[in-house]
Assembly symmetry: C2
Homo-oligomer: 180 residues x 2
């Protein structure tokens, strides 16, 4: 069978130590990013959630568990650069499929305006998210190897979706189990 | 639909520049590997192919396109270490499925004895290979983003398949198209 978005979000809650490698393909550069990621559930009637729904024209009764993701880390690309941010994410399951829908976020990775991506969860439990931005498109695959270990492969594509500029792998180890 | 193993092998032929990042999870170490990989088709009656079939008890008339993979590269883990090797791979499609079967190889990545893995090709064209070794298990996912760009995610697992010791992402760009 597969899992639904509520289950996927529930499995993702907690604090994760992330080790990420990015490949900048045009010049074969390696980038190393170390970060801590925290994923927290939010109430469906949280004011920030309701505001995001309104900005994207989505009726709040259609949403599944919203959550907040915050991160803080560093990259070897620019030693002085501290990566830090947070974003609110709101899944909106499709009305005709249990395993796909829209994912609203109040800030994209690649741009700073609200964005909506399309997600689908494959029968083997891989969450696939594609998001189009003005000048780029992103494709992310996230899956669990075990309860406290998940992987995320991201591709940053040119806006026509044909070229890939950056690929990356994140290995994420949960350090605070969600039920503690 | 999906693609069959013959198509997957045909798409893989040629010379690839590989940029690979490995995450050694227990101590959060990053490893960078740069290599050149060459994939060449072999005749089904190549003596080395027939010998591998015999050693694994496989009738040669059941096999699909065999191929040879050779690589040469370097890792930043040990600056003096030159990675170099080659292996012969022989797909044996399952008799009851178009998209799965065994993949014989005369040398594994993790050990130096002949090995046989199980492959399946998902409807979205991802080739998934799982191989059990004496003291480890490997899971590889390979897919094409475009004709000349493919990605490979590998997990090295403990032999019970529950823990992951190493994850890696390879971004592979073809530098000599197969039809040149």
């Amino acid at each position: 069978m597969g899992i639904d978005i509520e289950t996927f979000v529930a499995c993702s809650l907690g604090k994760w130590r992330s080790q990420r490698s990015a490949h900048h393909l045009a010049f074969a550069h390696f980038e190393e990013i170390r970060s801590m990621i925290e994923i927290e559930g939010l109430a469906k009637d949280d004011p920030a959630v309701l505001a995001l729904c309104e900005s994207q024209g989505v009726e709040p009764e259609r949403i599944a568990t919203p959550f907040k993701m915050s991160w803080e880390g560093e990259t070897d690309w620019d030693e002085d650069d501290v990566l830090k941010g947070e974003t609110i994410l709101v899944p909106v399951p499709s009305q005709d499929s249990e395993n796909s829908g829209k994912l609203l976020r109040d800030q994209g990775y690649a741009e700073t305006i609200p964005a909506a991506g399309d997600y689908t969860i494959t029968p083997d439990g891989t969450f696939i998210l594609t998001t189009g931005y003005d000048r780029a498109a992103a494709e992310e695959k996230i899956w669990f190897a075990s309860d406290n270990l998940r992987f995320r492969v991201s591709l940053i594509k040119t806006s026509d979706g044909k070229g890939v500029t950056t690929s990356s792998l994140s290995s994420e180890v949960r350090i605070v189990p969600k039920d503690k």
